[in-house]
Subunit: 573 residues, 2 copies
């Protein structure tokens, strides 16, 4: 079923799933709905925009790492279509209720609201008691009121203020809003509608069609494969995503001081190894799940002292963009930034890129940790400076006359310098999402089917690699499957084919999944073209083509005419 929530009228309607949407889920579904129902030229904060939630196709299957939620809308950050993908408990809760999608449309004429979705009721309630609260306090109050067996989506004050860096917090397995639909300012879209929180009963269980494959057996085989793979079974559970700090630095593509360098002299102090040491010394948790039943457990709990909320899910991107990228080599300072971002529901990547631009502008100096924390506080307070920073990296660059802004289509880059991660650079340049590593990140030696492992530091094969990865990522986002599970799945596609068969009753293959990814990306590109995007937007900022990146002195040298053709053809096996 689909819930259509009209914030203008205050009504909620249950609708059957249209036939054309029946085999879609996650990103494929949110992008299809946004493209079908949102006027591409509308203002992203207007009543014409819609906020769409959809569990992935595997939502509610209780397979490991398969409970991710897609949140879609026209992005106030990029001006294009956006799908923001988040773990936590919400997708499985929605799927349990039999909900394929929630479409929030219109705009409340006044006041703040909570959308409650339970097995026997769906209603809009006043949010007076949580307005102005940041997400940890708001969530605690919501779970007190509705009971612990609920998933919560919630915005902070930044979302209430409709800031571009505002995201949507989602509760983790411990009821903390530590997971985030992070990118593209979707918290501002939620805020523009007068919606402070969505509370979903996590008590129901999904009714599934009869299938030729037993779901329990498929789940077990898949979980065993994850646990047996070196990345998902060892590296990620041990060091979390920060496992790659050292490798990325060694390659010379670690964004350092607003992308002025590719290696950071204080890398040891912000590495996954050092992170683990600190967590163990403070009796934290070096491994922890973000979604129920995930066996990868790449999350963690980083203690910050008795009186402080720990950082839950202290990630590579957060650490690098607010560490090396700012010249800050101290995990405790980065943790201060990270936990503020989590509590206020701010995109840690966009904040990191923005603070780098602020340092470039001379507002504070590179390496000034206290200054960086102070600037995040400005965002939370909504001061004029906070409004600039809360508008993201591009807006900050424009306000302060800074040319060097590492962003594409209005969105700041993640922790891979495109001069050394050229396939990721192609994705930054061409993804309908803007600079977004989650849209198709090319780590070293990624295997391109038919070609083999690719050296991402050289320009050849990068366009084909990005094309493949963008389709693959869109497919994973549509299944609700965590991208980190791809290792064993690409080695043995029957793992995911069986899960999909058991969940849907239909037949799937890696080829059909890649085609679903192609369909999804093309749907998004069509929206963006109608919104005014052209090949002129499919490029990196000038400085990546001309400023050599120390120490390798690489530039981004994938030929532009090839880059522009990245998504012009379908990748097929």
């Amino acid at each position: 079923m689909i819930y259509r929530v009209d914030m203008t009228r205050g009504t909620i309607v249950r609708q059957p799933v249209p036939e054309a949407w029946r085999n879609l889920g996650g990103r494929a579904l949110t992008s299809t709905i946004v493209a079908a129902e949102v006027p591409p030229t509308c203002h992203p904060l207007s009543e014409y925009n819609k906020l769409v939630l959809a569990p992935g196709i595997l939502g509610g299957s209780k397979a490991s790492s398969a409970g991710r939620l897609s949140v879609g809308a026209k992005s106030p950050l990029t001006g294009g279509i956006k799908e923001s993908n988040v773990g936590g408990t919400a997708a499985d809760a929605l799927a349990g209720l039999g909900v394929k999608a929630v479409i929030v449309e219109g705009r409340a004429p006044a006041g703040w609201h909570i959308l409650y979705l339970g097995p026997d009721r769906a209603e809009l309630l006043p949010a007076d008691d949580i307005v102005g609260l940041e997400t940890y306090a708001a969530t605690e109050r919501l779970l007190d009121r509705f009971g612990p067996r609920h998933a919560v989506l919630v915005i902070g004050s930044a979302g209430e203020r409709r800031m571009n860096v505002a995201n949507i917090g989602v509760t983790d397995v411990d009821g903390k809003p530590s997971r985030h639909a992070a990118r593209g300012g979707l918290g501002a879209v939620m805020g523009s509608k007068g919606l402070k929180a969505i509370v979903i009963a996590a008590t129901a269980d999904l009714a599934r069609p009869a299938a030729a494959v037993d779901l329990n057996a498929a789940r077990r085989r898949y979980a065993k494969a994850l646990l047996g793979h070196p990345v998902t079974g060892k590296s990620l559970p041990t060091y979390g995503t920060a496992a790659i700090v050292h490798p990325i630095n060694l390659i010379g593509g670690l964004p350092t001081r607003n992308f002025h360098a590719g290696q950071f002299e204080a890398v040891d102090a912000i590495s996954g190894e050092h992170l683990r040491e600190i967590i163990l010394a403070r009796a934290g948790k070096p491994t922890h799940t973000c979604m129920p039943g995930c066996v990868i457990r790449c999350s963690n709990i980083y203690p910050r002292g008795e009186d402080k909320e720990p950082v839950r899910g202290f990630e590579f991107e957060t650490i690098i963009m607010n560490g090396a990228n700012l010249g800050i080599g101290d995990l405790d300072i980065i943790a201060e930034i990270a936990q503020r971002c989590d509590d206020y529901a701010l995109d840690t990547i966009e904040v990191g890129v923005t603070l780098g631009v602020a340092m470039e502008a001379g507002i504070i100096s590179f390496g000034d940790g206290d200054g960086a924390i102070h600037l995040v506080e400005e965002i939370q307070k909504g001061t004029p400076l906070g409004r600039v920073l809360g508008g993201g990296a591009v807006l900050t660059g424009r306000a302060f006359g800074v040319e060097r802004v590492p962003a594409v289509k209005g969105q700041g880059m993640a922790a891979y310098d495109p001069r050394r991660f050229k396939g990721t650079g192609v994705t930054y340049a061409t993804s309908p999402m803007g600079a977004d590593h989650t849209a198709g990140n090319a780590l070293p030696n990624t295997v391109l089917p038919g070609v083999g492992p690719i050296d991402t530091t050289r320009p050849d094969h990068q366009v084909m690699l990005s094309r493949y990865l963008q389709q693959l990522a869109a497919a994973f986002d549509s299944m609700g499957l965590c991208w980190f599970s791809r290792g064993p799945i690409l080695q043995d596609p029957s793992l995911v084919e069986d899960l999909l068969r058991a969940q849907t009753g239909g037949e799937w293959s890696m080829a059909s999944l890649l085609h679903l990814g192609w369909y999804t990306v093309q749907t998004e590109l069509a929206f963006n073209r109608a919104a005014g995007f052209t090949a002129a937007h499919d490029r990196l900022p000038d400085f990546f083509y001309k400023d050599p990146l120390p120490p390798t002195n690489d530039v981004f040298d994938v030929p532009q005419e090839e880059v522009e053709r990245t998504l012009a053809e379908e990748f097929t096996l």
Copy 2:
């Protein structure tokens, strides 16, 4: 000759005029050069952008109202090509030196510079003694140093800070930098190059080819026609451009409180009639020239007390956008804003639109004159709030989460609400300049050749009218001819044909001028397409289509499919 000034190397080269550029001038020439030499996707503040100055074809002819200068670049405000057109003394001075264009390229590695152009030398000099000064003080110092017979172009602190609202001040007949190449943030482009001022000796006289028509006779006949026309001979010299405050208000299209209404209750207090009364009572000048030899004399000098610099050229757009649009019905308060904008070299239209958005955001209230003055001071100081406002209306709207921003392609609208001035609305929507009334303003009863006078409050004929006016305006901008002189010229095209013959030695007609306008606009559109603009950008903000404008309750109802075809075909006589 052309001067090519390389700020990176600190060199100045004289070049002959390429054959293809020989018959161009003003906007046709600046847009041709920008389109040919600036990479459309470059950052507007980068060394790849160029600042191009060109007198019109009639520059140096000493015909009335024919000494306007075109300044071109890629705009940091719109991201598209920009031509900003300005009166004052600079165009004639350049033309006198035989200069067809000045192309400022690259970017100074350090320091601030003055470009000096004289009959026997052209050089870059250090600007240490005027950096940080606002334009009136800087100009005074420059004229002290170089002598009074010089034209000056100068930026203020806002241009030095590379703000989007920064423009370029140009000296008037009294040596005051009261004329402005106002729109599109070209002051920021000049600032990005490390160029504080351009000083041009106004002592030389243009050598002209032999022509079949006597220039003196052509000038006299044309001046007589201007003086005999009711608009240029009576209304403009008496009330200045503020003559139309009452008419625009009567029609119900006077932007009031951020375009929430089309009539202003305090209109009498900001009318041209009242302006004249105040000026006369204070022994100011109700009529004054902005360019040497102009017989229209639509400028004025508005005294503000002994210790204060008077406002020179207190214009309709400035008065309405900082008056009615802000709910301020007091000319002295508006004059405080206007003179600050002039001194700091800020675009008064963009500032007015921006302050309206700031009031919409609740930063200050509509009608708060002291607050508005204070906000302009914030821009000058470069505080964080000033940085937001200095970024223009769209950036302010984004920073403060405001949907209602009256702008197209990043540029704020002028003092004609498109719901009642529908032809101007079509121009706002489709001009390569963004929302810019000077690109083709359709005042009531404008005569469309072949059709007759057009009612601009109805949707029919508006697209054809805008097409005609956009070509005509581009032709006037290319001639260096003030748009206000069009009345007698459209009645008797031989007036301008004779001037052009005498100036150039060639043959011209109204048809060939309209074709020059077509060529110019198409050159600009091609640049913009390559920069990433599409039909999706050729539209007004949503609210003009849906929010009725009191008291007539009109919306903008020219069919969008027609609007998008405005510049797809050439208007021919």
